[in-house]
């Protein structure tokens, strides 16, 4: 798995996707075996989820605030500032929430997972586990994967809530859009299924599954050198970002 002969870029990418797919099957097959390491999963959830809250809340707040500001400026040209609550909510639920959360998640949690597993590989900890009859897939890979899967929708919900709050802060508190108009226009237009469930739950679950898979896979298949770990960490961010944005388009086309 580690040997990567120089091949055509396209063939290489396809091979990576195929290997990652097979790795996903291995992970899923190991889920029942990893149930006895539930405590490890909770610890990983704390690490990738709870510890990411700071960056998610701060970024969500600022994204909402800048949306509120930009929309006020543009909508005031048409005299339509009352619609800014609607637009903030829909933009955040449908696109910004899931996509920005996933990008931040890849940068904050994905990289550290890759680096951690990669270093375990480089320092032969994974081999040592196998020696002790501990399945490294079930003990190391699956808990991190499941934690990412669970953490993404929750982080996305927090991001969206803070984003709406930021939009409200700028639009209503600073720029003087009427509070009632802001909320009533939003509640009248936003649809639970099409906006909230499709955006926060479906999109972020898919993004969480893909980002976690890339992070765990890249770490697990790192060449066991310091250069290899650095390279794998970089690739996690690059591959995750491309996958998130490409999948976002596909998902949006299907969920519309």
């Amino acid at each position: 798995m580690n040997a990567r002969p120089q091949r055509n870029v396209v063939v290489n990418a396809l091979a990576q996707i195929g290997e990652a797919g097979l790795f996903l099957l291995t992970l899923l097959a190991a889920v029942p075996r990893s149930l006895r390491y539930l405590r490890e999963t909770v610890r990983q959830l704390w690490f990738v989820g709870a510890m990411s809250l700071t960056i998610i809340t701060v970024c969500g707040l600022f994204v909402g605030m800048v949306l509120g500001l930009q929309l006020y400026y543009v909508l005031s040209i048409f005299g339509g500032t009352a619609a800014s609550g609607t637009v903030v909510a829909i933009a955040i639920y449908r696109e910004l929430g899931p996509v920005v959360t996933a990008l931040l998640f890849a940068g904050r949690a994905g990289t550290s997972v890759t680096a951690e597993i990669g270093l375990m590989r480089a320092t032969d900890q994974l081999a040592a586990m196998e020696m002790m009859a501990v399945d490294p897939i079930a003990y190391v890979a699956v808990p991190r994967y499941l934690a990412g899967l669970v953490a993404m929708p929750l982080l996305c919900a927090v991001f969206c809530a803070l984003g709406i709050f930021g939009g409200h802060l700028v639009g209503v508190t600073w720029l003087g859009i009427d509070n009632g108009t802001f909320w009533s226009n939003m509640t009248a237009t936003v649809d639970v299924w099409k906006d909230v469930v499709n955006g926060i739950l479906v999109k972020s679950l898919v993004f969480g599954a893909v980002v976690s898979l890339i992070a765990v896979y890249q770490g697990y298949t790192t060449p066991p050198t310091s250069e290899g770990v650095a390279y794998a960490t970089t690739r996690t961010v690059v591959a995750s970002s491309i996958a998130i944005l490409a999948l976002d388009f596909v998902l949006t086309a299907f969920l519309m």
């Binding site: 405590r39 909770v42 610890r43 959830l45 704390w46 690490f47 989820g49 709870a50 809250l53 909510a89 639920y93 669970v150 953490a151 929708p153 929750l154 982080l155 919900a157 927090v158 969206c160 809530a161 709406i164 909320w183 939003m186 509640t187 009248a188 237009t189 936003v190 649809d191 639970v192 906006d195 909230v196 469930v197 926060i200 739950l201």
Partner: protein
Amino acid sequence: MSQRQSYAVGTGLFIVLGFAALAYLATQTTSVVNSRQGDSYTVHARFTNVGQLKERAPVKVAGVRIGQVRSIALDPKHEAADVTLSIDKRYPHIPADSVATIFTSGLLGDQYVGIEYGSAKKDLADGGTLALTRSSQPLEQMLGRFFGAGGASDRVGGTYTVKARFSNVGALSVGAPVKMAGVPIGSVAAVHADPVKLDAEVELAIDDRYDQIPDDSAAAVFTSGLIGSQYVAIQPGGSPEMLKDGDELVLTQSAMQLEDLIGKFLVNGSPGEKKDAAPADTPAGKH
């Protein structure tokens, strides 16, 4: 042990926070309250034109929401749109002679059904029909009536493909809907200029289900809302003969251009004088 406790508590807090945020967003910022429908009863209303009314649009009395539009279908026998309203059981006393009207919230807002109470002692029953309705008014019709240009009509022709000639199709494009009573029944198959007659020939592909369209029906190019896309509206006539494939709609009303209408109004001073001056400079006017 204490370290394990701290991350367990932190993780628990994180999960609770995430679900709380999700629940808050789903209930407080969406129309979940509006789309939830308690016990309701069904009432029908027949409109000659539903305009842009959509399913799940609100039904209001005195501006207060009492239900929603459940379905909109074309009733081919009556050349009208049959709108099914589901009304909350909490509002059982709607007089049977109430009037249902399609209103628009603001200038560009969504459309809704407003019910104005009548004076009958009898209440509307489940499955009953509101006999008195007022349809959505396309802007062109209102402007046209105002400028004395309303009532233009055309002749029709066809079950599969029908042709219609317009002196001006405006921004009508291939694929635009063909509507009757506001309900789509087909689409525009082709738009091309006639090199001899120097007008626009439009081919309309109409659904086979709607083969009961009188051949003296009129076709008009309307605009959805103030800034919407254009569509062809069929206004049924009274002829016993029905349209067949290849027929031509003789009575047509071209796309009205706001500039022309306003120009006419400004030049002529009053709508009544319009007929003298208008034809020369308004190719978009009625036939």
